[in-house]
């Protein structure tokens, strides 16, 4: 069902331009990697704070609030660059297990980040038990690590 759609992606002008260019794909890919790094930093900092391993002198909500714009910017650049990479080789992605692992992981990571994790990290100090903070931090790191791993692995298949 999805295959015709993915085949069509590759035939779009954007997909065509990126695929036939020598430099464009690597260039966008590098951007994607930088964006991933920014997302990683913004996510990890808050997660480690939730777990209680970093920045314990600052309230969780403050760290989360400060990192929010950078998380959003990082995710925006990663999604745009990632979509461009995807349309240039969507049929390969269709047959790649790593791609589906990554997309599934990303789906859950984004939902988790912008619902439960946001709620827990923005909560007033003391209103949510420390165990919950730890669980949320660990789950978040696990989800994003899956995304990174799956993403890197697309290139190996």
């Amino acid at each position: 069902m999805l295959l015709p759609l993915f085949e069509w992606f590759e035939l779009t002008t954007v997909g065509e331009i990126i695929r036939t260019s020598t430099w464009l794909f690597p260039f966008i890919e590098a951007f994607h990697l930088v964006a991933f790094g920014v997302v990683g930093g913004a996510v990890l900092l808050v997660d480690l704070r939730l777990i209680g391993l970093a920045f314990r002198s600052q309230p969780v909500a403050q760290v989360a609030q400060e990192m929010k714009p950078w998380l959003q910017r990082g995710v925006a650049v990663a999604v745009v660059s990632g979509s461009l990479l995807f349309v240039s080789e969507s049929v390969k992605c269709y047959y790649s297990e790593a791609f589906w692992i990554k997309i599934t992981g990303l789906f859950f990571a984004l939902i988790f980040t912008f619902t439960i994790r946001r709620k827990v990290s923005m909560a007033e100090a003391g209103s949510i038990g420390p165990v919950w903070g730890r669980v949320v931090g660990v789950v978040s790191i696990g989800l994003w690590a899956t995304v990174a791993w799956g993403g890197r692995w697309i290139g190996f298949s």
Binding site: P26, A30, L33, G37, V43, L45, R152
Partner: protein, 186 residues
């Protein structure tokens, strides 16, 4: 022994061949390199943004540095170890890669940036710890670090591509010079 000779010798060692041919270990090392990038580059970026007064502005600079540096250093160690393993797996081609050479050069510049920062404006951090706008030299160090690390990521990512490889001749003389290719005279 020349550096190229050393790379060739490395390539012949048993573990280099094993790593190079491994179906799982090489990609795993590569993935760990990328994971560590999120930790190292991500946290370095937060610190740089703090130096530029663009993030965590409510927290004193020294506090941000104190809290982040152990993690950043841990990430850096993982980067260096996995990076060295990746080099060890493919020594000759990597040694003769223009992008790898650019990356090493930029790493050295990034190191100098850190050293200059820590031996100048950082020594007086107590004076500007809570300033709404950080001093020029601190902002310069933060901006330079950001630009350098983004370029390092770009260069590192490009090592995977073989446009300028020595075994793809003819290449312009400048490429052969920069990559240190040994080209047989015709």
């Amino acid at each position: 022994m020349s550096l190229l000779g050393f790379a060739k010798w490395l390539a012949e060692t048993q573990w280099s061949i094993a790593l190079h041919e491994s179906l799982w270990v090489y990609p795993l090392v590569e993935s760990t390199h990328v994971w560590a990038l999120a930790l190292f580059f991500g946290f370095a970026t937060v610190l740089d943004l703090r130096l530029l007064s663009l993030a965590l502005t409510q927290v004193p600079v020294s506090e941000v540095a104190k809290r982040l540096l152990p993690w950043t250093i841990a990430g850096f160690i993982v980067m260096i170890v996995t990076g060295a393993l990746l080099f060890y797996a493919i020594p000759v081609r990597t040694y003769q890669s223009i992008f790898f050479r650019v990356k090493v050069f930029l790493l050295i510049v990034a190191g100098i940036n850190v050293w200059v920062f820590h031996s100048t404006i950082w020594l007086r951090v107590a004076e500007w710890d809570r300033d709404p706008v950080t001093p020029k030299r601190a902002r310069f160090a933060g901006a330079a670090s950001l630009v350098l690390w983004v370029c390092i990521i770009f260069a590192g990512r490009m090592i995977a591509y073989n446009w300028f490889d020595c075994d793809r001749q003819p290449q312009p003389p400048i490429v052969n010079w920069a990559a240190g290719c040994v080209v047989e005279p015709e």
